[in-house]
Amino acid sequence: MIHNKTMIDQRPAPSNTLGPVAWLRANLFSGPLNTLFTLVGLYVLYLLLVPTIQWAFINADWIGTTRADCSREGACWVFVNARFTQFIYGLYPRSEIWRANIVFGGFFTLIAWLAIPRLPFKRWVAVFALVGFPIAAYVLLHGGYFDLPRVPTHRWGGLMLTLLLASIGMIGALPIGIVLALGRRSNMPIVKSFCVIFIEFWRGVPLITVLFMASVMLPLFLPSGISVDRLVRALIGLTLFQSAYMAEVIRGGLQAIPKGQEEAAAALGMSYWKRMGLIVLPQALKMMIPGIVNTFISLFKDTTLVMIIGLFDLLGIVQAALSDSNWLGFSLEGYVFAAFVFWIFCFSMSRYSQYLERKLNTGHKR
């Protein structure tokens, strides 16, 4: 029996299911209980937001140079203003700050270049960012070459130090983590047990302990006369610590790749490293972007712990500034500023990872 002789045309959905009013009704006021929750939620939001905005913006002092300029009851951003250079560069000599500025400029230019899809020569820029730029940055920041006066690492600080620790930590932790993850899945017993012991050791120790050991105990084991820079020690500790976490994140990704992928690659005659590098890792890393970025974000925030071995990262330098007797009592402003800067960087990483995920999502595209 034939019911329809012609196909039915597509019709628009009823108008009361579209538009902002329909959205409000469906999501916020769909019943008496939901309406109540919405109203209570709005009230709590009002109670929290209004004083915050008043403190941070409306009643805040922005202009001036000393604490006498802070006369209103809101935030005293004058403090942050007066100390801004120190927050960014630490104790880097004022006369040499142009060097740090060049490195900052190069750093952000490279990141932007790699992140913006339209720009060409990605591969060469990436090689430069990983090889050329770190050397150039070291020469510029540290000096001692080309008539540049030396600036020892204990004068480096502030946001500069935070970014340095974080970026070197990330660049180091990712490849070490990949190798450890592959090693842990290896069939070779020595490689496998080395990786398992390494990962479990670093994961079982708190980062603070690692940093303490790096700064206090390592010199005891080194032969006298050899001293490793404190910043380098902290960097090694931080990188190895995070690479153990990274390894476990990546191992999770490797396990999610069906065995058939490696078999298909093997059946085509690919060697182990080609199977991993061309087939398995690209898929696993893509799948693990949220986990990898999560580890990066936690690494970025963990850099604040170097404070306890006497390195002044952004938070450390803010805290040091708080004990200045001229500016006692402005700790809230200092911490809010530090939190805001950290948030900007972590949030950007998070957004970029979401963008990457969407861009690379080919597997499930229909």
């Binding site: 078999e263 093997a266 060697s271 898929q283 080919t362 597997g363 595209k365």
Partner: protein
Amino acid sequence: MTQAATNTPGSSTPDLMVEMRGVNKWYGDFHVLRDIDFEVKRGERIVICGPSGSGKSTLIRCINHLEEHQQGDIVVGGVPLTQDVKRIEQIRRSVGMVFQHFNLFPHLTVLENCCIAPMWVQKKPRREAEEQAMRYLERVRIAEQAKKYPGQLSGGQQQRVAIARSLCMHPDVMLFDEPTSALDPEMIKEVLDVMIELAEEGMTMLCVTHEMGFAKTVADRVIFMDQGQIIEENAPEPFFNNPQSERTQLFLSQILGH
């Protein structure tokens, strides 16, 4: 005829593409392959059938060392299969394999799937690899999808791409591991058609399948396996019309009976 061990053991001639002598394999305590003796000559088309768990897939997966055998000798294209990684890779380059679940690389386009091994294993320049890939995609009638990702194709299309991907390595032998078992009925024919064409061109083929129609059309020999042993081996006509072993008769009655 119950066992296929009629040839004298010894070094293989180039005419023997695959040679298995006394091959045994265990998964732990489970004896999967028992005293397998068989050989494939150049240009032969062989269909392997049998109940599930009988070791058919394991058998052909031993040929390119996706599974390791614990006893016996396997010689592929004159090269004895040993633990040596270089030698295993050499054998795999000359043996193509098509899987039940296609196993296309989902992060690469159809064209890239077909180019990646020629480019990285055989070191072909990209242009040459792409031209060759397009020729083979043309042959399996899917060239117009070359820029798509595997996830955008139907099962039958994916399996045809997988066949093209294998052919791009110019294999001497093609292994098919239940190539149509994961497909919807309407897609089985498009894959079988490609396989029949391949057989007609003289490709040496070893095919684990339940498609008895395919076996009747193209196979030179049909092998029946049960519990890890080769039970019966014959040309398709006598195999289907006059099976010797009871177990073969039972199996055929179950598979052809409905």
